[in-house]
Symmetry: C2
Subunit: 240 residues, 2 copies
């Protein structure tokens, strides 16, 4: 069923989601807070935007035009509904398509920033068994592969433009490898640890198109206190 | 001048060092605690061993024969003196040579574990100006490059053997790249943060010769409390 959630603590913002399909989660919130924005940014693209939490969060942090692409019609519709109800349609443009089709929809080298919270998991024999189709496509590399994300980002970004992504640490070596292959030089990375004594379960990475080497590893982002409550700086991400 | 330091809290262990040349530091202690050892390990090699802190620390954790190679005669001599005074010459063998010469000194595929705390810095025009020659060679890639470390490690390690290194995060992308090139697949990495709100200034990385992909990012290693004192788990590294 469709739920209407008040998104974070921003007045007038609603987000529609469907628990059976896809929920926006901490990943998107962290990515929106991680990415480097500039006052001069004119165009921002969010690939695999889901129900558009990243464009909505970014709309409070930038005056740039924000675009989002989502393949799945059901999830795209939720995003559109959220944007209309939040009166953000003047700021955010959603497109219902596969990111493999950006080449015909957009000119190259036009975007200052490209973000992505892609499907995390490689497809295996069990991928289809445990989840419904919509959730499965959102979470597994069925329609969109890492290579597609990097290729589209390279095409869309201007020289010196910023690419930012959230993903899982077990794919880190592959991510580094492929970002460089596509000329998106890794510049900063932040590892997200559920608790201070647990292995990282998420990573935030930013690269610059045709940038120079030299990676900075930002301070650890620990999500929970030992008692399970959110750290104060995580709580602050949910407030205006 | 030569100082005689009691190394950590192990009875009977002394380490000789010279403040003007080279001091063993937290890096070596962290690497010795990070590396995965097995009961079945027979031979361990420490490349760029300096005054041999890593072999001495490992001697408490393994029954394997431990080898160390150090290029600089002055630092090698300190290591030998430490090992003799600590009655460890039956456990540790030091060699005064460049790691580029392991090919003539050792058969291939003989070691279960190879470690390295290499020179961290690329040579630039200022490298020679700020430091004396001995310290300079210990800290800069003058005699030993990353490629030399990986090539020697690949040669020495048996199939499935463990490579472990401490280095700096700004070289991380290059390290990942080259480890894979030399067939030392990265398996676990731990970032070391001076304080919980500061960027990482060290990384510990372990790979397996001809291993499969899949990287684990271990919990953050934060060295100091906010008041500047060492974290308790760091203090424990200095005790038996």
């Amino acid at each position: 069923m469709i739920q209407k959630n008040k998104l974070l603590n921003f007045e007038g913002t609603v987000i529609y989601q469907n628990d059976e399909w896809f929920k926006f989660s901490l990943d998107s919130v962290l990515l929106a807070n991680f990415v480097t924005l500039r006052l001069s940014d004119k165009k921002i693209m969010d690939l695999c935007t889901g129900n558009a939490p990243i464009p909505m969060l970014l709309s409070y942090k930038t005056k740039a035009c924000i675009y989002g692409i989502e393949l799945q019609k059901e999830i795209f519709d939720l995003g559109m509904k959220s944007i209309i109800d939040s009166n953000m349609s003047g700021r955010i443009t959603l497109i219902n398509d596969n990111i493999k089709n950006v080449y015909s929809k957009f000119s190259s080298d036009m975007f200052d920033v490209v973000l992505c919270n892609p499907p995390y998991f490689k497809v295996n024999d069990n991928s289809y068994l445990t989840e419904n189709k919509i959730k499965c496509i959102a979470r597994h590399e069925i329609e969109v592969l890492l290579d597609d994300v990097f290729a589209a980002s390279r095409y869309l970004l201007r020289n010196g433009g910023t690419f930012a992504m959230v993903h899982r640490p077990d794919r880190f070596v592959e991510i580094i490898d492929k970002m460089r292959k596509y000329g998106l030089e890794p510049k900063k990375v932040q590892f997200v640890y559920p608790k201070s004594d647990l292995a990282a379960n998420m990573l935030l990475i930013e690269g610059v198109k045709n940038g120079k080497g030299g990676l900075k590893v930002l301070p650890p982002l620990v999500v929970h206190n030992n008692d399970g409550s959110y750290k104060d700086y995580i709580k602050n991400y949910f407030q205006n």
